[in-house]
Symmetry: C2
Subunit: 403 residues, 2 copies
């Protein structure tokens, strides 16, 4: 998760310095669960096993994990029921279990929500304050965490190759991202995603694409490597999502989506680029905080509207949209203005064709809270400094275009 501040008033468009530091070891491919016991053994024998609801049990993965843990003579405490858009209450519960049971390592089995929650638990164990919601709110400078091993079951958030996590507090209508800890080991077996529903597969792919687009639309123009990598991830999803929807057990399609997921949110496709504020994520987190909707769906609805809004507001960004239309969607016909629009249309049609809802109205969301949401998004201090700066009015206008 990358939320770098940015200074769009700077006219300099040259490459920025960066630090690459991703300590996560990824075991990628069918059957890599065979590396689970040795991965955990590096850290100890006392395991907190975190997971969500039924899907991990339905596909038999839970039983497989329990068998390995028993054979390896691990002491296991379970922390289940972790929500999509994971809640602070689950973090509190997990931290308590870790402290009571003197846990050595967390094993997270699931998608991005379970993983994000597990990261916050891992850091929460060493948090010195009493209020873990305060940790979430100030969580960008945490220094110590329990080690974390995960088994991924959804290609979406990139949490398996990233140090960030997003936690929600429904009491205060807040959904906040922070940096916690990188997983030490991520076991990424695409076969675990064969049974993911069409809806969640499409939403996950929208999330992957959003992670790329949030950084791709930046003021820095001379990062050929990072831009090319970003375009590669987008093209990989564009090619493979329709295959996975058509044939859910297509290994190559599922594997390419899983690789794309890991790279997209790693920060690597943004190396050298000026921060952009990740505006669509800022807007979406408000939606999820108020309405608990699926993150990727919110992003898919918001992104084309955000694009049209900023292109109209600041035509100086047209060139970047032309690059997007040409290099990602293979478009070439028309003036720059036409190409820029065509690229956005292509993205919107892609999401529609994948079966993702196209309006907030379909999700039973009306304009009741848009003012408060816009204000809160901007209170977090990112969007007035975004790629194209957004006022509260801009944000309300984008939300309204989604109705």
């Amino acid at each position: 998760m990358v939320y770098r501040s940015c200074q769009p008033t700077i006219k300099e468009k040259r490459m920025e310095n960066y630090v690459h530091s991703i300590p996560t070891q990824v075991y990628f491919g069918k059957g890599q669960i065979s590396k689970l016991a040795e991965s955990l053994n590096r850290f100890g024998k006392r395991v907190l096993l975190t997971y969500g609801g039924g899907s991990v049990k339905k596909i038999g993965l839970y039983d497989e994990v329990i068998k390995i843990l028993k054979e390896g003579e691990f002491f296991v405490v379970e922390c289940d029921g972790i929500e999509p858009n994971p809640r602070i209450e689950s973090v509190i519960k997990g931290v308590k279990l870790c402290k009571e049971n003197n846990i050595d390592v967390i094993l997270s089995v699931g998608g991005g929500s379970t993983l994000d929650c597990s990261k916050a638990i891992a850091s929460g164990v060493y948090y010195e304050g009493d209020d873990l919601w305060e940790m979430v709110k100030s969580g960008w400078e945490l220094k110590k965490s329990l080690p974390l091993v995960d088994i991924l079951t959804l290609s979406a958030t990139g949490s398996e190759f990233d140090g960030g996590g997003v936690i929600s507090n429904m009491a205060t209508n807040e959904k906040l991202g922070a940096m916690y800890t990188y997983p030490s080991v991520s076991i990424c077996d695409p076969t675990y995603t064969f049974t993911v529903s069409k809806y969640q597969t499409a939403a996950g792919s929208a999330d992957i694409m959003s992670h790329i687009m949030e950084g791709y639309f930046s003021r820095t123009d001379d990062c050929d490597m990072s831009d090319g990598l970003a375009e590669t991830v987008l093209k990989t999803v564009i090619k493979n999502l329709p295959v996975a929807l058509e044939k859910p057990d297509d290994y190559a399609a599922r594997a390419n989506l899983m690789m794309a997921s890991s790279v997209a949110c790693s920060g690597i496709p943004e190396y050298g680029k000026l921060g952009t504020g990740w505006p669509c994520h800022g807007l979406e987190h408000e939606l999820s905080a108020y309405y608990d909707i699926t993150h990727g769906v919110g992003l898919a609805i918001l992104t084309p509207r955000w694009m049209r809004h900023i292109l109209k507001k600041d035509p100086s960004v047209t060139a970047r949209f032309v690059k997007f239309a040409k290099n990602v969607w293979g478009l070439s016909e028309g003036s720059d203005e036409e190409l820029a629009q065509k690229g956005i249309d292509a993205l919107e049609n892609f999401f529609k064709k994948a079966g993702i809802p196209y309006t907030l109205t379909e999700l039973n969301i009306n304009d009741e809270n848009f003012g408060k949401m816009a204000e809160h998004a901007n209170q977090l201090g990112r969007l007035t400094k975004a790629y194209v700066p957004l006022t509260d009015e801009d944000i309300v206008s984008i939300y309204k275009a989604c109705l």
Copy 2:
């Protein structure tokens, strides 16, 4: 450095499992030398400083490093004079210095040769046998090394983001790759490459491109992510090398080449792909071992000839060459056979235009040793199992086409 064995007789072209594990922290950009003292301090105060010849002193980097080491109160032992195509004698010397001085960490300042030699020294300190050449020969399973920090001054080998190294023994005419250790920290400041000569800049870029092409021409066809990433690296070099040759202090060009260098040899562009045997590297190492030529120059001369040879020998690989012509060189006109040839021509012309010698004859190499070299390349056991398997006769034929 990636030399995976492969089984070209297998008809299966589907994605392979892989492990991602690159612990190196990269500080990328101008002025990142400010992170040097803290990077070394993690490991201790007793430093072996390795470097090559005059260039590090000429650009003032040596003085800057010494100043930082003095201010940080490090104890420093110098190991200079490390050769291009670094020799086993330098490894022996470095290991001796480490043992005599109870060194905590190696600081390598230079290009791939200095770094490769430093990696072998780092592992050599813990090698239990008496003969370090035996370590090089059997060096794929080493478990323990001294920590290594480097400051990169040449975009070429990717040693800054890779665990491998290549060491030469001129007495036995052998140049052998092995896995030693990943750098803990790589400081990659593109400004240190501003003064690299046109010849070495071009040769380095040929090396970067070769690292990609060696893996790109593989039997696995469904790795969209890795193939796209490989194409991105190639296109980045194709765009930025001419700029760097024209304007040696163009920051963006030098920076893109440096990023490309790190990614190219990291293994990442090959994730999921069946091993290919890295045939051009196998052939080039013989050339360097016999004639001590610049590695990248040897690769640039060999690669187009290798391509033409295997395309003629096994037309089933045409489709991959068509993909190369289209996605890397932007070609589209002609039959598949024509496109395949045009892609190879484009590569050859690119190397020629960059001023790289085009024949071995220009390097005063004749066919005297081709038979022995081919036999030795195949004794190493990789080329008869390469992407398109090569017999001794095939190899001699490729060498002869380079005259």
